[in-house]
């Protein structure tokens, strides 16, 4: 069996949004990345390592951030 390893550079973090993982620079205010990715914040909650956070937090190296959609309906 062949194992595939991916090592994330320390200066990079990822934001999962709309089913895709976006690489972003660490030590950047999250709100800047949110604006760059054009994420409508009031339709999402921000989760980092299973914890809810606010948009003014700094993105830390190696962070895996998930934008959780909160709008549903049929």
């Amino acid at each position: 069996m062949r194992l595939q390893l991916s090592i994330m550079p320390e200066s990079i973090a990822t934001i999962k949004y709309h089913g895709k993982e976006h690489s972003v620079r660490a030590n950047l205010p999250l709100i800047k990345a949110v604006k760059m990715l054009k994420i409508p914040l009031n339709s999402y909650l921000i989760i980092r390592n299973g914890e809810l956070i606010t948009e003014d937090e700094l993105i830390l190296p190696g962070d895996r951030i998930e934008m959780l959609p909160v709008i549903s309906g049929g």
């Binding site: 409508p40 009031n42 049929g74």
Partner: protein, 307 residues
């Protein structure tokens, strides 16, 4: 960002309320807001037996958890609609609802559409003109009938649903665009009990969908993460997306839209409501006995008896 109450790190920012809160104080704030609306709109009291309609999703489970936390007498109702779409949607949703109830020692009533009516919801919808390809309106009809049947048969004094502000604002926008006066008269936090109907309440009517989702996450509620496969492309999602776009530019616009509507309702802007309830009270479906606006069988019985 700091919690307004204690100054520790905030977990949620709510520009519409000019408020950021930490986990501890958010989990105090949301139940207090909901309790305030329960009292304000005279939804129910401690003596009421409340049936909570749950889907296994974040809003209805958040509501049930919150009412349970507040000490109200609640039981849950889950309807297995038999929606599969390759992701076992209904089955998994029911498992989330059951796990929630079991963890808290609460009673969950499950109604299985196939066991009771020999068809799944998509099969029922496929036989009708309005449900073919898009079963949402048939789904609404089926759920309303079953929920009403269970609430009346079980002698529950109140039926609570997890409709939140985003749901109400989206429906209100759709009905306003259509100038549907009859529908506009019914989008209110409480529909009083009538012969054959339990009182229907929406305790989250002024709670943003984002706020109820945050409550579920902070309370550690595990809920069905997937959207109903038939919801994609729905009008409701379309209206919600646009309302949220406006909300981003004008924080609080959804809340003002809904609360100002309630004030207009109170001022008598939509008088059709009482007429419509009065009409319902006088006619019964000869097949199921539920109130109906038509002279013969109700829409639900016409649907299931055609199979």
């Amino acid at each position: 960002m700091r919690c307004r109450t204690c100054g520790s790190k905030a977990v949620i920012n709510m520009p519409q309320h000019h408020l950021a809160l930490c986990k501890e104080h958010y989990l105090e704030w949301l139940p207090a807001q909901t309790q305030r609306d329960i009292v304000k709109f005279k939804m129910f009291e401690r003596s009421d037996r409340i049936l909570v309609a749950v889907s296994g999703g974040k809003d209805s489970l958040a509501l049930w958890d919150l009412l349970w936390q507040l000490g109200y007498q609640t039981e849950g109702l889950y309807i297995n609609l038999g929606i599969d779409s390759g992701i076992a949607y209904s089955q998994r949703s029911g498992e989330f609802a059951q796990a929630f109830a079991s963890d808290r020692g609460l009673k969950l009533i499950t109604i299985d559409l196939v066991s009771n009516y020999r068809e799944t919801l998509p099969q029922m919808a496929a036989r009708t003109q309005r449900g073919r390809g898009k079963p949402c309106s048939v789904c609404g009809l089926v759920k309303r009938h079953i929920i009403n049947h269970v609430s009346v048969q079980g002698n529950y004094s109140v039926l609570a649903t997890g409709h939140n502000l985003d749901d109400e604002a989206a429906i209100l926008l759709a009905n306003t665009l259509d100038w549907s006066l009859e529908h506009l008269s019914r989008s209110q936090p409480v529909l009083q009990a009538a012969p054959g109907f339990a009182r229907k309440v929406k305790p989250f009517c002024r709670i943003y969908e984002r706020e109820s989702a945050a409550y579920s996450i902070l309370r550690g509620i595990t809920f069905m993460p997937d959207e109903c496969p038939y919801a994609f492309g729905s009008k409701q999602l379309y209206f919600k997306t646009h309302l949220n776009d406006w909300e981003g530019k004008m924080p609080g616009v959804k809340l003002r839209f809904y609360t100002n509507y309630l004030e207009a309702l109170d001022a008598g802007a939509f008088p059709a409501r009482q007429e419509s309830i009065a009409k319902l009270g006088t006619q019964r479906c000869p097949s199921c006995g539920q109130p109906t606006t038509t002279g013969g069988q109700c829409a639900f019985c016409l649907l299931v008896n055609k199979s």
